[in-house]
Symmetry: C2
Subunit: 221 residues, 2 copies
DNA sequence: TTAATAGTGTCTGTTAGACAGTATGGG
DNA sequence: CCCATACTGTCTAACAGACACTATTAA
């Protein structure tokens, strides 16, 4: 049997000031010791139930973040991507609200804007690019961007998230029609957004059944 | 380092009489020797450039089919899916025209309709279901179904493929507008579909630049 | 000519976007 | 009151689907 190294990597994304950021971690061992890279690690056959469990474990151990929205991205493989030998990395995308990362406040985790030129070890740049492209693509026709916000949020906030991801303004009336069509939100009564000198916006949250399951539109935004 | 078995599996799909069929191969070794399963095998670190190469190699060795449309589906993993131990299978979907399979005429390959109840070893049923769901979903907004036809085909043929995959009739005028919008086809001049006592249909083929690259619609069919 | 299917012009209903109006908070 | 932003009603433009009409072949 040919020896193949089997790892998972996590592209942990969040929005900071309307810009997509990815979590990078200073590597604590060779190869690339001390270099910022995606949180990742070997699959532990004795403890991990599957690759997804491994990704959740790695994220918890390395960043202190627990149970984010997580979906499999793709698997990257080949003899050259890791100097230790022929390797497979099952990559996952995790989406969290900015606050989750700030609360975890892990000292070795640095957020980097994905629009900047990133210089990353292994093929991590390609993995990040794939994750970002997938997120932006799915934002056109799904509820995925909701996971970049907290437990409750207003429609104007959500629209700004979609607009940041799609990098284009969205018609307010159409946006609201589409959110109604997706029928994934329920209003949180009585609670309104605090803040400015203006009418406060209604708060919403994902219906429980869609907390882990995407909602799709027949026709995109 | 924990020992993880690293394999690839291929869901080779084709349309036979407007029904999606998957290629199954009688296994020639344990486990499940003699049982029909997806074509698959171990990654060979010395010869495979990456997992995709492994999938192409496996498909060529086991079915005689070379260079089909191939895309990564997902990776399946866990301690229980293979009796030999904790395993990872990087699954690929291959699409080919029915004739390609008939010409290969591999004696151990049997096509099975995916709508029938399939009893498959490992987690191959789940892999097939995932591949079929992905294909049907992408058929709503992409050129993917083209790869289930040969090098050239007519628009009525292509529409029947879309209708078979989506399991619903499509408006002819809209369908043609959408194909024009995708702008992935070029007419094959002078050549017409032979056959019935009626006006023959114009033949088209994928433009060279889209032979291996999907074309997407802004808004689905 | 008829039958059968290919391909198109056009009308209509549906949907998306523009715009302007009302609603509701703070100052 | 004013301003700012949330929300909504409604008009218009764009698009999708229905339908009918023409085109082209074989018998």
């Amino acid at each position: 049997m040919d020896q193949v190294i089997c790892t998972v990597d996590v592209v942990l994304l969040t929005l900071k000031e309307q810009r997509l950021n990815v979590a990078l971690l200073k590597r604590d061992r060779e190869p690339y010791k001390g270099v910022a890279a995606l949180p990742g690690g070997f699959i532990h056959a004795e403890e991990d139930g599957d690759a997804r469990d491994a990704a959740l474990r790695v994220l918890r151990e390395k960043t202190g973040i627990d149970a984010p929205y997580l979906e499999q991205l793709a698997t990257f493989s080949g003899p050259a991507r890791d100097p230790r030998g022929w390797s497979v990395s099952i990559a996952y995308t995790a989406l969290v609200h900015d606050e989750v990362i700030e609360k975890a406040a892990h000292p070795d985790v640095k957020m980097a804007c994905v629009d900047r030129k990133l210089s990353l070890p292994f093929d991590h740049k390609a993995i990040v690019d794939t994750a970002v492209a997938r997120l932006r693509s799915k934002s056109q026709y799904s509820s995925l961007p909701c996971y970049l916000l907290g437990a409750s949020f207003t429609l104007p906030q959500l629209q700004r998230v979609y607009e940041a991801l799609l990098a284009e303004p969205i018609n307010k009336v159409s946006f609201r029609r589409k959110m109604t069509e997706m029928a994934m939100l329920e209003s949180v009564d009585g609670e309104m957004e605090a803040g400015g000198a203006h009418r406060p916006a209604q708060l919403y949250r994902l219906k429980p059944e869609y907390r882990d399951q995407l909602r799709l539109l027949e026709r995109g935004l």
